[in-house]
């Protein structure tokens, strides 16, 4: 059953072919058996999962089930879950148990989905390779020498390894799309404000967005139906109706215009990756779409802009981790300053410290105008670029990353090279747009994903385009075990 998609499992549960308890137990057994190789979970909530599964079965028996009732899911370990440890991949939160539930996980709870556990991630969602977790690197199920991508690497890996039917992720600069791409699964970063951030431990508040990761677009649509919607507790969450994303999955693509930004296909893009993308676009033409070249002239500026704004926000979002009220506190502090310094020095990893320093610098008196203000101006230009491009096309397509997954350790000494690998994804966060990654084949055994970018709140069209592509191709069906 674990090879089946979330939607197929939902049908099996509805038909009574399997119970949620059986399904959940089979995943728990798989996790026990295999996750030692992948390290995709930080916490496995076995007992809780079985209790929830039992409840889900009862609810289904009572005729009160939704599509997700009884479906075993995994949650990125930055969604606060009441009574279950939430570490954010950091030593500083190694002992943190939130007294409340994030809106996203609450919604899944209310739908009676089952939580298998909390997935591994780059510390505080900072990273492109998932090598920055206090709990060790996650390994790519397609090749355990390779990184799974970051920062939702644990979520991507556990879905790819069929250790969960679906998983939640968050995407600040590509952290859903890029690991989905590297792990050969489907992932969607919704429009900023589409999904509540309440209870999500913040990295960069103006960029963070939660989204679904699963085998198929249809599965993502089912998950987004539950995740999306207004939340009084998040002022940046938009009060807009949530459409049924499954209702438009089969709409025709006839007449759809695909924009290919010329800047996405310039130097730096691996030739084999480019070929997979072009092949996928050709497939879309067969489905009735027309293709047009568009331009995002300020694409290159998105990296410096992002790497000022995100660390600036992070530097203050992370101030609360000071050893005073929760999380790690150093032993025997000599005084207040000593407590702050040592608690934070011991609690945070290298990449987090690097970004706190960059962000603190960028916001300092005398540098604010040169860095932060400038970065915000560039952000506006990038958004305008997208708006202009969307006057000529309905959907933008391109790669998620310049190369397939690289090897663990390959770039860890070169943060700048690591940052450059985000060039295709983070401009989408700066513009607040929805973006998606869909499996589009592989290069030397490592998966490649096609990135699709939509207009604000046009998730329905992205899922529709992805679903039609998946009806016509088999890329999404490949798994590390069938390849």
């Amino acid at each position: 059953m674990y090879e089946k998609t979330l939607s197929e499992q939902s049908q099996a549960l509805a038909a009574g072919d399997i119970s949620s308890v059986e399904l959940t137990q089979s995943y728990l057994d798989r996790i026990k058996q295999l996750d030692g190789d992948y390290n995709s979970f930080i916490t496995v909530t076995e007992e809780l999962a079985l209790t929830q599964a039992k409840k889900a079965d009862e609810r289904r028996a009572a005729g009160d089930a939704s599509a997700l009732t009884g479906i075993p899911l995994a949650h990125k370990d930055l969604f606060c879950t009441e009574g279950v440890k939430t570490t954010c991949g950091s030593n500083i939160l190694d002992n943190f148990v939130a007294p409340y539930e994030s809106t996203v996980t609450r919604k899944f709870k209310e739908a009676s989905a089952v939580m298998l556990g909390k997935t591994n991630m780059d510390e505080f969602a900072m990273g492109s390779s998932n090598e920055n977790s206090h709990y060790g690197a996650v390994k790519n199920p397609w090749d355990t020498k390779a990184i799974p991508g970051g920062s939702s690497g644990g979520s991507a890996a556990c879905v790819a390894a069929r250790l969960a039917a679906g998983a939640t992720g968050t995407d600040t600069g590509g952290s859903i799309r890029q690991p989905a791409s590297h792990c050969g699964i489907t992932g969607l970063k919704p429009t900023y404000g589409r999904v509540s951030r309440y209870g999500m431990i913040a990295y960069a508040s103006s960029l963070d967005q939660a989204g679904p990761m699963a085998q198929t677009a249809e599965d993502c649509a089912l998950m987004l139906n539950t995740m999306a919607g207004f939340d009084l507790r998040d002022s940046t969450c938009m009060d807009r109706e949530v459409p049924d994303y499954t209702a438009t999955l089969n709409d025709s693509l006839e007449g759809m215009t695909i924009g290919l930004p010329k800047e996405y296909f310039s130097t730096g893009l691996d030739a084999a990756v480019e070929q997979r993308i072009r092949d996928a676009v050709t497939e879309y033409e067969k489905l009735g779409a027309t293709v047009k070249e568009v331009s995002l002239p300020n694409l290159e500026l998105s990296i410096p802009s992002y790497y000022v704004i995100a660390p600036a926000e992070a530097s203050t979002n992370l101030s609360r981790f000071d050893g005073a009220r929760f999380g790690h506190r150093c032993d025997n502090p000599a005084d207040l300053m000593d407590m702050y310094k040592r608690s934070r020095s011991e609690g945070f990893g290298e990449e987090v410290k690097r970004r706190i320093l960059v962000g603190t610098y960028a916001l300092s008196a005398g540098y604010y105008d040169a860095y932060y203000r400038k970065a915000q101006q560039i952000r506006r230009m990038i958004r305008d670029d997208f708006m202009n491009a969307f006057e000529q096309c309905d959907i933008i397509m391109g790669p998620n990353a310049p190369t397939p997954a690289f090897n663990i350790g390959e770039k860890s000494d070169d943060p700048v090279a690591m940052y450059l690998s985000d060039i295709y994804t983070l401009s989408v966060n700066l513009a607040g747009l929805p973006g998606m990654s869909v499996p589009a084949g592989s290069v030397e055994g490592r998966p490649v994903g096609l990135q699709m970018i939509g207009r604000h709140f046009d998730e329905g069209r992205l899922l529709n385009a992805a679903h039609r592509f998946q009806q016509a191709t088999d890329f999404h069906k490949a798994s590390p075990f069938t390849a």
Partner: protein
């Protein structure tokens, strides 16, 4: 050398909202530590702020109350620093785009003249928690009940020239915020806290001297004392050839001592930037109009009305309009009685008794209605002004539900019966035959003074109940005949 003082104030005013500025936790004062702090106030990971619309309304009302521009798009920013009572590691406040722009507050000086003090701006922000340094054996306790309490910080231009003006301004501001009902005005509980920026310069000099800031003064008395002390200190330093260092100072109201807290060099870099968790606050026309329509009568307008409607003097009207509870008490007492008398009583007996018992007018045992009833009995000659004081005292001590009951119970009704008064006067004249002789022998121009003796004797004989006017009249007639 002659010195001139320059003072600017920053005032933190706690808004009287039921819940905090970014969370649903209660703002009530005096609860057990950390019982009124929810996950948002504690800055737990993942929580997000949501603006309390009532706090926005109150800030707007303040702006309207001081004739200020309301910034229709205002922005919350993060002010970053580490301190144990600051749970998030930043304070959410407003810097570049505060909700209230430039305005003014007019004060009345002791010589009766008025002066307009410019307000630079007022912004919304959240309060921090409190560090408790006692009872923790070398450690500190943190109480976050106050964290997230909504404040407006009001910043004046350096328009004040001495402690007296500063106090007059502070009192006027107190009157404005209590009239608006946006602050309970309870200074001892920290509802209003003053930071004073003080500098001195040789009289006639254009540019300002170096200033110091004394923080967190929570009474008019302490503020005045702190200013006087700092002015004296600065003049001493300058006259000794020294220089004033820009610094933050602390004043201890209990000991009257002041000391330096930190110099400018040690000041933080707060790394302000717009809070990405909060969207800009956009104030629509309709909201502004609705709040404008709901504005209460402001102290200046009230004062003008007290003068024109009740014929009060400028000074009396100024005091009575100065704070909302006193103004309301006066108006209720004046209603159906006599405004002049009500004014005299509120400023006299009522305020004396309140001061002696250290209570506020809201807790006065003699209500405005009781006072009005008392005044009516003075007006209709049932009792004299002197007897009225006895009645007031009885009412204050709870010896009756209203003036009539006290008058009745104690038999204080004024004697206005001519025959009875005549009989009493006859007795007095008989008992003081020698004085009567002296009176009649005295030249007419001296008699006016001498009659006071007989009035006193007659009033004494009546135990104060005789109508003094009638006593005077009858005495004159009998003595002069």
């Amino acid at each position: 050398m002659q010195w001139e003082t320059v003072i600017g104030l920053e005032i933190h005013v706690q808004l009287a909202t039921k819940t905090k500025i970014f969370s649903g936790a209660s703002t009530a004062f005096g609860a057990e530590p950390n019982t009124q702090a929810c996950a948002v106030d504690l800055g737990l990971p993942g929580v997000l702020p949501v603006v309390n619309e009532e706090a926005i309304n109150m800030a707007i009302k303040f702006g309207l109350g001081i004739d200020a521009e309301i910034n229709r798009v205002n922005v919350f920013e993060r002010k970053n620093y580490f301190y144990p009572d600051l749970p998030k590691g930043y304070q959410t406040t407003q810097l570049d785009k505060p909700i209230v722009g430039a305005g003014h507050v007019d004060i009345t000086l002791n010589d009766g003249s008025t002066k307009s003090i410019r307000i630079h701006h007022a912004h919304l922000e959240e309060d921090a928690g409190k560090s408790l340094h006692e009872d923790y054996h070398g450690m500190s306790g943190i109480d976050l009940n106050r964290a997230g309490t909504p404040l407006i910080e009001i910043v004046t231009e350096p328009d004040l020239r001495n402690a007296e003006e500063a106090v007059a301004f502070a009192k006027k501001l107190h009157s404005i915020v209590t009239t608006l009902g946006i602050c309970d005005g309870n200074m001892s509980q920290g509802s209003m806290r003053f930071d004073v920026n003080v500098s001195v310069r040789p009289t006639g000099q254009e540019e300002f001297g170096t200033r110091t800031e004394t923080k967190n003064l929570n009474s008019f008395k302490f503020m005045e004392a702190a200013i006087l002390k700092e002015v004296e200190r600065q003049i001493d330093v300058l006259e000794d050839g020294g220089k004033i260092v820009q610094e933050t100072r602390l004043y201890n109201g209990d000991t009257g001592e002041a000391r330096s807290m930190r110099s400018k060099e040690e000041a933080n870099d707060y790394r302000y930037f717009p809070c990405p968790d909060l969207l800009p606050v956009v104030i629509e026309d309709s909201r502004l109009e609705k709040l404008r329509a709901d504005m209460p009568e402001m102290p200046d307008a009230k004062k003008a009305r007290f003068i024109s409607e009740f014929g009060l003097s400028d000074v009396d009207a100024d005091i009575l309009s100065g704070d909302q509870p006193t103004a309301d008490f006066f108006e209720a007492a004046a209603k159906g009685s006599d405004a002049k008398l009500a004014s005299n009583w509120v400023l006299g007996e009522v305020s004396r008794s309140l001061n002696a018992n250290e209570i506020t007018i809201a807790d006065s045992p003699v209500t405005a209605e009781m006072l009005a009833g008392l005044i009516v009995r003075i007006k209709d000659n049932t009792i004299s002004g002197n007897i009225a004081k006895k009645v007031f005292e009885a009412l204050w001590n709870g010896e009756g539900k209203d003036a009539d009951e006290v008058i009745e119970k104690k038999g204080l009704k004024q004697v206005t019966d001519t025959a009875a008064i005549e009989a009493m006067i006859d007795e007095v004249l008989t008992a003081n035959a020698r004085q009567v002789e002296n009176y009649r022998a005295a030249p007419v121009e001296k008699r006016g003074k001498m009659i006071g003796f007989f009035v006193g004797q007659a009033m004494k004989a009546s135990r104060g109940k005789a109508n003094p006017g009638m006593v005077n009249q009858i005495l004159k007639k009998k003595l002069d005949s």
